[in-house]
Amino acid sequence: MRVTDALRFQHVQRALASAAREHAAASRRASSGARIERPSDDPVGAAELVRLGASRSQVAAQRDTVRTVSGDLALAEATLAESGDLLAQAKSVALQGANGSLSASERSMLAEQVRQLRGELVGLANAKGSRGFLFAGSQTATRPFSAAGAFSGDAVDFVVDVGGGPTAAGANGARAFTLAGGRDVFADLNALESALTANDPTAVAATLDALEASRAQLGEERGRVGLRMEKLQTSEQLLEQASVVLTEATERVGAADPFESFSRMTALSQALERSVAVSRQLLDLGTLWRG
């Protein structure tokens, strides 16, 4: 094969361009740490990265939901516990009031205590969380209990989906405080107050079972809230694990191995230097013309 000057130059140009191109790509990969910077770098990996990105985003959003909802559930659980304590106090008052030796004025004072307890319970039942009134069902913007304890909310459960399908994630005020749960807590307190005001120890004694049932009702709802919190915590743990797995998968698919990248870049730097040196020698040929 005849080797002309143009052939020699073309060969040098192509070899240098190829070496420089590979070196630039390796440098870019080593400096960015990314194995895939564009879909054509690895089409299958690129599609996988997009899917992983969507999954990571979804998991992050679900974890946000867990955090938001957990705060409200914890508040509801504490509120229900406090409400149960109030009912225990009311039962204690009822026990005192059932004592036949108490005078009318003493029962009147106990009735006043019950009114205060009811007021405090109304306050608790109207507690607010991050999305409105905690015990109002879906009517989160409206105060669910009047001063007398009349309920204007509903029994709709607040639901979220944090990975396993729609799940209830709130406290149900109707089931905790109203007849929807079996006992109307405020009606039971009202009955106690009325019996005390009427100075009727027999009637006062008759409220004891009802008050206990109301307290148990609050306890049951508190237990349900506790279960929901546990379920959310389990979901949070699963989501955290999923997040770790997805992050690792993203790294595995999309990140360049730093040692491999660096050693490749070093090898290509040396190859480029050799290519330049050889090119210089090739370009120095043409001795006949130089005499």
Partner: protein, 459 residues
């Protein structure tokens, strides 16, 4: 005396012939870097009586290699142009920086998730509207960018066709001039080189096949039709079919023009046709389908729910009636613009404002097969598009590299046969110089002999 005179004439002819050889060598040296230049050599012949005469110039051309060169140029140009055009579109689909369409899709579903956890919060509701609008904007931008690329490619194709027409007319003119020069017995090498340079230029724009006609003229076929024959060149033109695809027409010696689109198989024009009417149409179609599928699914679910005002049946996105143009036309529904309270998070009017079940259902669409005929989630459909485009470009890059290697190989073969080697020319220069020196010496010797003869006779 007669013998001396003959020797004198022979030496004169030798001087002229070697001088001619030196001239040809100089011409080669001068054109060592001229693209398409074919090395020449002096054609020296023995004259009766022992003299030498330069009868002309021989071009070290190989018509077979030239044809392969034009073909390789067409293929390489087509492949590299397609790769370059697809690379220009790739940033639209690169979704790894956190600002891509995939993130916009996830953003909407994440916002629904947020709405489900706090359905009455005005800020959360506004975030949903912002994310939905952002998604629509991203789809609009992607669709507009694809449409702009298609328009740019059409303009490039029109410019290329104009270039082909101009160069084909030049080839036809050179065909005429070469025929005249050869008929007069003149050296047409420069004209032939120039014609080859033009044909190479045309071959980078359109597939080219060359052969010689009965009179030795060059016939040029392109896109399956005769582009140049003798001194006549056809005219190519481009228009758009009813479906917006590009059509190539050829008109020779007046109307009617013939459509030659199907014959287009190489050069940049083939790349323009394929990228514009196949690759980008596919991308645009899939973007439209994704926008339509996603928008329709969200709208259907959203319409089932109730806003804070107790109204249901509202879509979230405005969409065209079919997938055609959906990516370009999708937007936030006018009734929702500026009205976050109209977002339908509750599935019943009586569970407003705290009901979240419809928001939960909307968020659940992220994991539902709502795209690609109900076989893929929206994010998966987008990932499929990204992956398929990446595959397409990776293949185009590999093809471009192969064709580039083939072209380089063909160029090397042609260069080896027809190129100028300065070392060779140096040897030739020395050879002609020595021959010239020797002829001059013969001349001097004859001159001396004749002088001596005249002197003796004169005594």
């Amino acid at each position: 005396m007669v013998a001396l005179n003959r020797l004198l004439l022979t030496a004169r002819d030798a001087l002229a012939a070697q001088s001619f050889g030196l001239g040809v060598t100089g011409q080669n040296v001068n054109n060592v870097n001229t693209a398409g230049y074919v090395r020449r050599s002096a054609d020296l012949r023995t004259r009766l009586g022992g003299g030498v005469v330069a009868v002309g110039v021989r071009r070290a051309a190989d018509a077979f290699l030239d044809r392969r060169w034009f073909g390789a140029s067409s293929s390489s140009s087509s492949a590299s142009e397609r790769q370059a055009l697809l690379s220009g579109v790739e940033p639209l689909l690169s979704d790894f920086g956190g600002a891509g369409l995939g993130d916009a899709i996830s953003g909407v579903f994440d916002a629904f998730q947020g709405l489900a956890s706090n359905p009455s919060d005005p800020t959360t509701r506004q975030v949903v509207l912002d994310r939905a609008e952002h998604l629509a904007d991203r789809l609009n931008q992607a669709a507009d960018a694809v449409a702009e690329r298609r328009q740019e490619i059409l303009q490039k194709a029109q410019a290329s066709v104009a270039e082909v027409n101009a160069e084909a007319a030049e080839v036809a003119r050179l065909n005429r001039e070469i025929a005249v020069a050869e008929a007069r017995g003149e050296d047409a090498s420069d004209l032939i080189d120039e014609r080859n340079r033009l044909v190479l230029g045309i071959s980078s724009l359109i597939d080219v096949k060359t052969f010689t006609d009965g009179q030795g003229g060059l016939v040029l076929h392109a896109a399956g039709t005769t582009l140049v024959e003798g001194g006549v060149a056809a005219t190519l033109s481009i228009d758009l079919a009813g479906d917006g695809s590009m059509r190539l027409w050829s008109e020779s010696s007046g109307p009617p023009a013939t459509e030659v689109t199907q014959g287009l198989s190489g050069g940049k024009l083939a790349a323009y046709k394929e990228v514009r009417d196949v690759d980008l149409v596919d991308v645009a179609g899939r973007l439209d389908q994704l926008a339509f599928d996603l928008g329709s699914a969200v709208n259907t679910q959203h319409a089932l729910g109730f806003g804070l005002d107790g109204v249901s049946g509202r879509p979230l996105f405005s969409l065209p009636p079919s997938a055609t143009g959906a990516a370009r036309l999708i937007g936030l529904d006018a009734a929702l613009v500026g009205h976050p309270e109209r977002l339908a998070a509750s599935s019943s009017a009586v569970t407003v404002p705290g009901g979240s079940d419809n928001a939960v259902a909307l968020a659940g669409l992220a994991s539902t097969d709502i795209a690609s005929g109900g076989t893929r989630t929206a994010s998966e459909a987008w990932a499929d598009l990204v992956g398929d485009f990446g595959t397409r470009l990776a293949r185009a890059e590999a093809t471009a590299e192969i064709h580039s290697d083939v072209l380089a190989q063909t160029e090397a073969m042609r260069e080896s046969a027809s190129g100028v080697s300065l070392d060779e020319e140096m040897v030739n220069l020395t050879r002609y110089q020595h021959a010239y020196d020797a002829a001059a010496k013969v001349l001097a010797t004859v001159d001396e002999l004749m002088r001596e003869l005249i002197d003796r006779i004169g005594r």
